[in-house]
Subunit: 284 residues, 2 copies
């Protein structure tokens, strides 16, 4: 458990790599930007860069078809070997989880949950993981019991890149009061979400609604609609939120306004802890 | 009213140009693709191409800030002159309409509505216009009384271009039975729309749901959610739907399944009729 290895968090929008010695981080690099067109070649490159040291790689993310059926512990699917076309590269991916009804899957979040549980043993409740999807995961007795994924994150990115809402979503500021109002509105009238998205644009164009308010309306409406759909998950539960960027904090704020306090966990840290747990099992 | 002029339908994704003599079409050209980065230069080019004939242009679409407050007749804002930097070019744009509460606007659809009413004088009811937005417009006694816009069309395009749903939305086929089920589901549980969008992807990835069913689920869920939000518009009303591509037919089918029959109108024809009405007023 003390020899060197690589921990790799592989998401659609970001690759985070840690050079590890046992549990200790020797180095960390982050590669932002869209997922490479040829993941296998990029993985081989990443792994190959460390071949001088001959170190194995343990990765999580959308890397293959293996998924364990829930309910199960987050790492129940184990690690599986990916053939990168170079027999010297020992590349291992954490198997994702799958749910039968409603059909759902995760690849990457199971590792973050494992990390969270490693640091918070015995914790029961619901974990909200933001990213491309917002994923609400019910955890009990160390197992993933059920989960539900929402396209919120990918939708915000797509709206920003490909619609007239891009102007407002590019604003770095966000008006907190407007956000709270929009969350409440999204929660009480979730069926109006597509109208409210347009209306934010119309109000900014017609009435001079400031960009930081337009952005707050768009994000608040979407998160409010998400909270309307996930009420059975967050009502009366112990809650944790993790993710990167602004979304986790907005989810925590929106939940707090509904009288549902949530703790915010450091997503990269949890990912790393989960990869350490997977690596420990492999090395044992 | 018998001299030549140019009728131009200017949308974000398509430019449709008719060379007219009075009410008669001499020629028609369609330019697909995204809106040019420099609209003024493109407009000047379009108009300049016909300067040998010295003909004026009457256009509709998102061309400027002028919008008449409703309730009013669709062409109440009149025509206004756009300066393209060349005094020989007589370029006129139909003024759009604006609504105070909820803040909303249209630029282009007012012309289609005018065309529809020119061909169907005395028609009262609700017109659903699909496109970048889905716009539901209550028309009574020749006036636009109220309207509500939904980001449905732009959202489908953005999801297709920028998310994992693109694979399924690119499928030309669409399974009708799955579409009807998804509409019913979107109507009864509109708050689940972001979860249903992801779930269609998960079912296609995990359970081998065929692409034509995944596409049907995505579009059906979105249109169902739109119908849930617009129930006050379509319930018990005389209905017309117009637009281009697959969306108008899907809206008609979805409404029919709710016991709300709608007629489908030819959108380019209505646009041209509306531009003729605007031109007639100018030439009078």
């Amino acid at each position: 458990m003390t020899r060197d290895w690589i921990a790799l968090d592989w998401t659609t929008t970001r690759r985070r790599l840690w050079v590890m010695r046992g549990r200790d981080v020797l180095d960390e690099t982050v590669d932002d930007g869209p997922r490479p067109a040829d993941p296998a070649a990029t993985l081989a490159l990443v792994a190959g860069r460390h071949q001088g040291q001959g170190v194995p790689v343990v990765a999580c993310g959308p890397l293959g078809p293996v998924r364990a059926p829930i309910p199960c512990t987050p790492l129940a699917g184990g690690l599986w070997r990916i053939d990168l076309g170079d027999p010297r590269i020992a590349f291992h991916a954490v198997a994702g989880l799958r749910q039968e009804l409603p059909a759902d899957m995760m690849q990457g979040d199971e590792t973050r949950i494992a990390g969270f549980l490693a640091l918070n043993p015995g914790w029961d409740g619901v974990i909200c993981l933001t990213g491309e999807t917002s994923r609400w995961v019910h955890v009990s007795a160390g197992e993933v019991v059920s989960f539900r994924s929402f396209l919120s994150g990918a939708l915000v990115s797509a709206l920003g890149a490909g619609t007239m809402l891009g102007r407002w979503l590019a604003t770095p500021e966000l008006d907190r009061a407007t956000f709270s109002e929009a969350v409440a509105d999204g929660l009480s009238r979730p069926e109006q979400v597509l109208a409210r998205l347009w209306s934010a644009h119309a109000a900014a164009t017609l009435d001079g609604l400031p960009p930081e308010m337009a952005r707050a309306r768009i994000l608040g409406t979407l998160i409010g609609a998400e909270l309307a759909a996930t009420r059975p998950f967050w009502l009366g539960q112990q809650l944790a939120v993790m993710g990167e960027g602004v979304m986790p904090r907005l989810h925590v704020d929106a939940l707090a306004a509904q009288g549902a306090p949530a703790i915010e966990a450091d997503a990269p840290r949890m990912t790393r802890e989960g990869l350490i747990a997977a690596w420990t099992a492999l090395a044992a």
